[in-house]
């Protein structure tokens, strides 16, 4: 049953990560990040107990909230037609990650193809976001996306509570660091 949910979750995950990549509105970005963590929750639920997966979800949502709150005054990117190029890059990443997921399925068969696809999609989109901008907000958003992909990939390998707790601390820490960096940038003349 959860396997079906995992397959279904791939579509909102793709939509969320594309939203994160293309939008400049902080509301959509915070929403996209929250949706990504919801997808990660569904994927990890196959391998982690509900409590642990839920803790990860709540942490992710807290990170999205921190990120959204800080980003409002700090976002100052120009709106232009770069989104077409970004969309093209996203399509390339999608193709690459699809073939990588199939190859990885031989190594990590117990993880399941939908989880691998989802994890690699997040990792790829995260790397893309980090690569296309040097804006601290965009870069940290990419880093959070990449790490959520890694957490998804890591879930079938490790179900230690300590690891889940440390990963949650890192997610929150990254969101706070992003908020701090954005704040510093706003204050600097």
């Amino acid at each position: 049953m959860l396997e079906i949910f995992s397959w279904l979750m791939l579509f909102p995950l793709l939509a969320a990560s594309l939203t994160l990549l293309l939008t400049r509105d902080w509301r959509w970005q915070a929403g996209g990040l929250a949706a990504q963590y919801l997808a990660v929750f569904v994927f990890t639920l196959n391998h982690w107990p509900l409590g642990m997966a839920a803790a990860q979800l709540v942490t992710g949502w807290m990170a999205a909230a921190i990120f959204g709150m800080t980003r409002a005054p700090a976002e100052a990117e120009r709106a232009d037609f770069r989104w077409i190029f970004h969309l093209f890059l996203a399509a390339l990443i999608l193709l690459m990650m699809f073939s990588a997921a199939i190859a990885l399925n031989d190594w990590l068969a117990e993880a399941g193809l939908p989880l691998l696809l989802g994890a690699l999609l997040l990792i790829g989109m995260g790397m893309l976001q980090m690569g296309i901008s040097s804006h601290p907000g965009r870069t940290m958003l990419g880093l959070l996306t990449l790490l959520s992909g890694f957490e998804t990939l890591f879930a079938p390998l490790e179900n230690s509570i300590l690891v889940a707790a440390l990963l949650a601390v890192i997610t929150l820490g990254l969101a706070l660091a992003a908020a701090y960096l954005l704040q510093l940038q706003t204050e600097t003349p």
């Binding site: 230690s160 509570i161 300590l162 690891v163 440390l166 890192i170 990254l174 706070l176 660091a177 510093l184």
Partner: protein
Amino acid sequence: MSAPILWIAVPLALAALLFFVSDERWCGGLGGLFSLILAALALFFPTDSAHLVFGLLSVRIDSTLTLLGRQIQLTPADQLILVLAYGIGAFWFFGALAVGAARKVVPFGLAILALLVASLAVTPFLYAALLIEIAVLLAVPMLESPGRGLLRFVVYQTLAMPFILLAGFLLTGIEAGPRDFALVAQAAVILGLGFAFLLSVFPLHSWIPMLAQEAPLYRVAFLFMVFPTFHLLFALNFVDRYAWMRESPTFYLAMRLVGLISLAYAGVFAMLQRHQGRMLGYFVLAESGLSLVALSLSNHLTGLQLIFGLIVPRSLALALWALSLAVIRPAVNSFSLTDLQGAARRFPLAAAGIVLAMLSLSGVPLLAGFPLRQSLWETLAAESPLAAFWLGLSALGLWIASLRALAVLLMAPADIPWQMDESPFQRVLLALGALALFVIGIFPQWVNPLLVNLPGMFERFGK
């Protein structure tokens, strides 16, 4: 009491408390004192053995603590790392007091030290990557820099974590020998990438000079001192654990190659810089390269002794360099060589501190960095004269950079009088630092007893 509580939980709690101390002197003084006490406790009370205190009280510190189903363990083999970490931390925190940076350096610095100590103690050791990442995130508010260097630092150090964790789990169960060569090769590539990010070797070093130019140098230098040291210990844990790695000639060749490229690159670029911060960054890169070259020596025990032996002179030189620059900072607009021209006329002790620290890190005779570098150079020359040539080239570049800094600091019109603008406390610290560089340079054997047991942490690799 258990050792992880004493050397990890207590410093973390103290760091949290010190964060709320608003007085600069109290913060610096208490932080330095606590750090010194922790170092002394580590020196006089090894874990897992009973000690009689004042002939009355028997004290025993257990090495293990179980947390969320996992063990955190500080064994007697870790004792000297604790002494070094908290001892050097104390020196740094007292220095922060002298330059008015204690409120930023001490709480975050103490927490970072505690987390890095935890990274050595956690079992399985792979989880160290997570603790190191949390320490990296704590460095963000400590550095307080809006520039690109800090962002790149966070990104690069964070990217290391997934690579290392994934490689570690791919390698689970193949500690003894490679049964699946394809899997090992793929895991080795992922692991190599992870450690390249973590150790920031060439070409992933770009954030080091950037950060050193943008952020407050005293804080940056503290991170340049602690992070590479603990990263290297983490890397050595991998080498110690996996037989296929420590017995592979290709691994040592790769380490030597990366180390020499980093060294040569750092040497050449250090002498071309026009900013003291960037120079410091390239000297740090050279130190990482030097450790990797030491790791590549065919006599592993010698390599380990050199890696550990380099920690003290490096820490002293970096501390003195950063302290000297922080003393000069209020009188100059920036650390560009143009702005530093003639600074020796007003801050002779600080200027001497900068030049001595640079010369020590270049491996000039009579200074702390010389004996071990000379030993490394000699051993390397016996194995590969070409590698020794590249090491020499790097040392030459660093030496030229030091002489350039000396020339700039002295460059002033003759009518400007000599004066001494350092405060008495700053003079004492600078003089002590410079003296220590000479003492360790002339009597290196005085530090050796402190370091002789350190290779014991890696019982398989150190054989």
